[in-house]
Every structure is written in structure tokens, then in C-alpha cells.
Subunit: 177 residues, 2 copies
């Protein structure tokens, strides 16, 4: 018997609101906040939104389909963590936010249309590096991945004022993570 | 001459949107996401919103006023980090979100009404533990404090699925921070 805190409907309540959270946090901000990063080879909020877009296209739903259609016989395609460096070129942040919202709506529709039942979350697929994983792991990872990148965006923006806070720095752990 | 990335208007663009970010992230979520925490004596999203409310009442604008009126001659009142344990009792999360939005609107209005100029950001106050601080440090800390708690909320929620992600755990640094 599966003892778990995972639930599909709880997962969807998080996944479906991420576009609105990103809009509330980023849309209309001056570029100083959306293009700053944590140093060389780190990501800005703008970069993160591009990365999330690529995930909708190449990661979550495509991998769900591979699990459902091929089980462990076909490994997932490797995910390109740097795709946004090509795909975001020339796009404004509001365009990326719209694109992400559009793709996410489609992903949620596809997830619902799969009519997954509890037993399906134990179905297995094969990750090219991690080996055998379950469909429930994949959907939980999708949720955690969203939340992790929301935390990252807030942290990256916070660090823009790392020197400005003066003596308060020691009370602000977000600046040293 | 002050060389700094700090600007009052950039700070306000962050501060004024925090209530909407919290609403987008939390309003209407099932309690499993809003009351979960990282273990004993850690905070849930619900606790964090209560803490932010207390900050509007007791921290940012009251301390700005002490700097402007008393400089370093009067130390700030110590901030009660556990006030929300009393003050949130019996209140729903939507009520707290409304209350925070209302108080934050007032704080931004008070901040604007102070008509601060660049020279004012160098004015000094006295923190009861940290010693001498500048008004610019205080406002930058307010911004970083908001962003740090937004990052915290996303992290706390992510950890609810720490076991559910299975082998993906090693790719998700938000779960081990």
C-alpha cells in the first residue's frame, strides 16, 4: 500500500498558479530587478522564466507520456538546462510570462486528460541519469521544481541589495544562501 | 558621494507588490500547503504572513520615524519575532492576506509622504542590537526581508514533497536548504 502525502489535485493547485505568481512578482518590474543574477553563470529571473518554458515543452508532459506509453523500456530524453539561452533571445519578459502561462495551461489540461488514478503514480519510467523513477516522483518533482525556482527568483532579487542592508546582513539568511 | 544600487523607487516597486505575490501564491490553497512547516519551531506560510503583518505595525515605518525624529539618540524598540503566535489566533489566511495588503498600502503611503531625498538615506538611527544603521539600510532591509520570506514560503511548501520526488532529490537544492 502506498503511504504518501502526494496527491494529484494538491499538485495541480500549485502547478496551475505558478504563472500568476510569476506575473505578480515580475511583470512590470524595472530590468534592474529582472536581469540581475548571482554572478557569472548564474540565472536572473528572466533566465528562470525561459527555463520554465522549456520545461513545459520538453520535460514534464513529454516524460509523463513516455512513462505511460513505454514504461522503463525507453529512457527520457535528456533535458537541456541551457535551452533558454537560445530560445529566449529577442523576447521581452512579459512575452515570456505570457508564453509560460499559455504552455502551462496546456500542460495542466494534458495532465487532467490523462485521467491518472492512484495506481498510475507507481508506474515506472527510466531517467537517463537517475535510473528508475515513478510517475508520482515525476509529478512531485514538477511541483518542487516550480517552488524551487520561485524561491530562487526571490533570492536572486534579494541579493541585489546585499550591500545595501548594512549591519542587518547577519539577520538575513537569504543573502548568504 | 554615495555610490549605491539603492533607490527608493526601485524599493517601492518590490514592496508594493508583495501582497499580490502572497495572494497569488497562497489564497485558496488547501491548508496542507499553507500550514506545513520545516519541523518543530519553524514557520508555515500562515505564520510568515502573520510575521509580515507585525512588521508593518512595529518595524519598518515606526523605525523610519524614529530615525527621522530622534536620529541615534533613541534606539529602536526591539522587534518581537513571535508576535504572530498571539496576533494571528483565530484568523483565517485570507483574513491575514487582506490585513497585510491593507497595512502595506498604508506603509507605502507613509513612506511616500515622508518625501525622502537622497541625503536622507544617510541619516542614522540606532538598532538595539546592531548599533548604528542608516535609513537607506532600513529600507533596503525591508525589501530583502520581503523577498527572503517569499523565498522561505516557496521552500517550506517544496519540502512537503521532499520524499515524494524520489531519486530527483539530488537535483533539487531547495529541499536541502
Amino acid at each position: 500500500m502506498r503511504m504518501s502525502t502526494f496527491s494529484l489535485s494538491d499538485s495541480i493547485t500549485i502547478l496551475e498558479r505558478t504563472p500568476a505568481v510569476l506575473r505578480a512578482q515580475l511583470d512590470g518590474l524595472p530590468e534592474c530587478w529582472t536581469t540581475c543574477n548571482e554572478g557569472p553563470k548564474t540565472w536572473s529571473a528572466y533566465d528562470v522564466v525561459g527555463h520554465l518554458i522549456h520545461g513545459e515543452r520538453a520535460d514534464w508532459i513529454p516524460r509523463m507520456r513516455i512513462v505511460l506509453e513505454h514504461g522503463t523500456t525507453r529512457a527520457f530524453d535528456p533535458f537541456d538546462r541551457f535551452a533558454q539561452e537560445r530560445e529566449s533571445v529577442g523576447k521581452s519578459l512579459p512575452e515570456l510570462l505570457d508564453q509560460f502561462a499559455h504552455l502551462r495551461r496546456g500542460s495542466i489540461a494534458d495532465l487532467c486528460a490523462a485521467h491518472l488514478r492512484d495506481a498510475d503514480f507507481d508506474r515506472r519510467g527510466r531517467h537517463p541519469a537517475l535510473g528508475e523513477v515513478r510517475l508520482g516522483n515525476l509529478i512531485a518533482t514538477w511541483v518542487v521544481h516550480d517552488l524551487g525556482h520561485l524561491a530562487q527568483i526571490a533570492r536572486v532579487m534579494a541579493k541585489r541589495y546585499a550591500s545595501e542592508v548594512g549591519p542587518w546582513r547577519e539577520y538575513l539568511p537569504v543573502l548568504t544562501r
